[in-house]
């Protein structure tokens, strides 16, 4: 083969690979544009009040679904506060619990577990990460929800809120427990990797200064793995925000905002985040104003996950000046 033709085919290879790789950027741009355009009427009709409160969000969704055929009379009015609140509440609570649990678990796996226990725990974490969300949802709806509904919520508690909401067992508490269980394994994997990558010299140095093994882990190893903990939290938050199927099964699927002032009852109140709302209403996507409303929720999810990716990158930055491994 002549030299120039070889060089040309080299260049062609690089170009085609680059083009193929850039497809992902095209796709993300298309996704943002398509979803936002579709969602726009819902946002523009409601303005900032789209996120506000007022009225029953489920009734509003039903009214939108039953809009008259005439496009001029389409109903768009919606106040999604309970759904926004549910999404944020579920994500924040389960990620907060997840950070604590997964950091402890990662320290256990990396430092304290004897080799024989380690050989069991590591595949266990992978197994928990691999279980499909629909199976978690199934166990939740067939085992946990009835248990909570029949044994943990007394009649007195049910009656106390009977005019506001029905307590069936499908609740914030069950949703948080399962959601935490679903996101923890991913966090453990990321954090444990980072703990293992901490230079041995730091560990030895701290031990040689008289710190005990827990203090060495906590003050030096976990500390220098903070960026990984943030990264893990961000990835976990993205999963928690987007988890629709499992939450559609166990959260009660009621557009209700659980009230912390209700005391313990708060934990047993049902709710429904954006992702589960989309799953529940997938059938109605072809109904114009209704579909646009649902796409608006998808746009919110898309925006949130974009922000999480960005936030994760930014959060790591200040730690870099201390020479923390990223």
């Amino acid at each position: 083969m002549p030299q120039s033709s070889a060089a040309r085919s080299e260049r062609r290879a690089e170009r085609s690979l680059g083009a193929l790789s850039s497809l992902v950027l095209v796709l993300i741009t298309a996704m943002c544009l398509f979803v936002l355009l579709k969602a726009w009427p819902s946002f523009s009709h409601n303005g900032p009040m789209w996120f506000g409160w007022g009225g029953n969000v489920d009734d509003q969704l039903a009214a939108i679904f039953n809009s008259p055929a005439n496009p001029a009379k389409w109903d768009y009015t919606i106040r999604t506060w309970p759904i926004l609140y549910a999404t944020a509440l579920l994500t924040i609570v389960s990620v907060a619990i997840g950070i604590v649990v997964s950091t402890l678990a990662a320290v256990f796996i990396v430092e304290f577990a004897p080799p024989s226990v380690k050989r069991v725990v590591s595949p266990v974490v992978r197994l928990l990460a691999a279980v499909p969300s629909v199976i978690y949802g199934l166990i939740g709806i067939l085992v946990l929800v009835p248990f909570v509904g029949n044994h943990l919520i007394g009649d007195g508690r049910k009656n106390s809120v009977t005019f506001v909401v029905q307590l069936s067992g499908a609740s914030l508490g069950v949703a948080v427990v399962i959601l935490t269980l679903m996101i923890t394994p991913i966090m453990i994997a990321i954090i444990a990797d980072a703990l293992r990558a901490v230079p041995n010299g730091w560990k030895e140095g701290a031990l040689a200064l008289g710190a005990n093994r827990w203090r060495v882990m906590w003050t030096v190893v976990v500390r220098s793995a903070r960026p990984a903990i943030i990264a893990a939290a961000v990835i976990a938050a993205a999963r928690a925000i987007g988890e629709g199927i499992m939450l559609a099964m166990v959260s009660g699927s009621v557009g209700f905002a659980p009230n912390p002032l209700d005391g313990i009852t708060f934990v047993f109140e049902p709710l429904r985040p954006y992702a589960a709302t989309i799953v529940d209403n997938a059938e109605g996507l072809s109904v114009k104003p209704f579909g646009q409303t649902i796409y608006a929720m998808a746009a919110v999810l898309l925006f949130a996950s974009l922000m999480l990716s960005l936030g994760g990158t930014l959060a790591k930055r200040p730690l870099r000046k201390y020479g923390v491994r990223l």
């Binding site: 230079p199 010299g201 730091w202 140095g205 040689a208 200064l209 008289g210 710190a211 003050t219």
Partner: protein
């Protein structure tokens, strides 16, 4: 596969590194008694901080240190010399029980600190009193202040305030000769310092807990000549405050900083004496061969 039994690999020894030893078990000069007398208690009028008595350490079945007896005295720098793999680092790490981090390590014999068996002490307590500086500078990824304050904070029952720590941190940094360079930038990240500064920071960090003995494992081997010189001066100054045990493969360094020198070979203590004696009039033939090439 029917391959013939492989021949054992041929070991090539770098002639410049290997001492000219005729037979490691062979002691033609009859120095054993003299050395035994030198390491015996009461051979010096200085206070003995640590005593290593008939210590043997093995990793699994592989012996690393054999039947070593050595005193560590206050106000003196003890330099451990010997070729690579002679067990000097293992010996050093056993003094604050860092050898226990290796699961297979087994130790016999005894080590005492001020007369107490170190194995009866809590490891954390021992390591505060017998502090250590490593071959590679290993400052933590924190500010300079937090690095130096680390041991004090770990020692304290309640979290000491920054203002209470400040004088202690300053003192440690002054002792390590680093205060003039970093005193204004205590909140800067420690990993931004140069290699030599990092190592002096590690010394300051080790001194901050006011240890009785300071262990140094080839502290200059990762540094440039200028930083090495600074640290050697520092060691010479520090000996008044703390007993120092330094491992080095650099004989000139041992000569410059050491008061007493112990020469180890194949895990055994071959020679022990004052620096003049070991370098000018070694008693054992292997020592003669080892140090002879350097100062001859």
């Amino acid at each position: 596969m029917n391959s013939p039994t492989p021949l054992p690999p041929i070991k090539r020894i770098d002639p410049s590194r290997a001492p000219k030893v005729v037979d490691p078990r062979h002691d033609t000069l009859g120095a054993a008694d003299a050395i035994a007398a030198a390491v015996a208690p009461g051979s010096s009028n200085r206070v003995e901080r640590m005593r290593i008595d008939d210590l043997s350490i093995a990793y699994g079945t592989k012996p690393a240190v054999r039947n070593v007896t050595l005193p560590v005295r206050e106000g003196e720098v003890l330099a451990l010399i010997g070729p690579s793999g002679c067990g000097k680092t293992t010996l050093l790490r056993s003094l604050n029980r860092l050898t226990e981090l290796t699961d297979t390590a087994v130790a016999t014999g005894s080590i005492t600190l001020n007369g107490d068996d170190i194995h009866a002490l809590e490891a954390t307590d021992l390591r505060r009193r017998v502090s250590m500086v490593f071959q590679q500078p290993n400052p933590f990824p924190m500010s300079i202040f937090d690095n130096v304050a680390y041991a004090i904070r770990e020692q304290a029952a309640r979290r000491p305030s920054k203002s209470a720590l400040a004088p202690l941190v300053r003192e440690a940094l002054e002792d390590a000769g680093l205060w003039d360079e970093v005193g204004d930038n205590l909140d800067h990240p420690a990993l931004r310092l140069s290699g030599g500064q990092q190592q002096r920071l590690c010394i300051a960090r080790a001194l901050a807990s006011k240890p009785e003995v300071l262990l140094m494992d080839e502290p200059c081997s990762a540094l440039d000549p200028k930083s090495t010189e600074i640290i050697e001066e520092l060691i010479t100054r520090l000996r008044e405050k703390v007993a120092i045990v330094i491992v080095t493969h650099n004989l000139q360094q041992a000569h410059r900083v050491g008061d007493n020198v112990a020469f180890m070979y194949l895990g055994e203590l071959v020679e022990y004496g004052t620096v003049e004696q070991v370098f000018n009039a070694p008693r054992a033939e292997r020592t003669q061969n080892y140090v002879g090439g350097v100062f001859g």
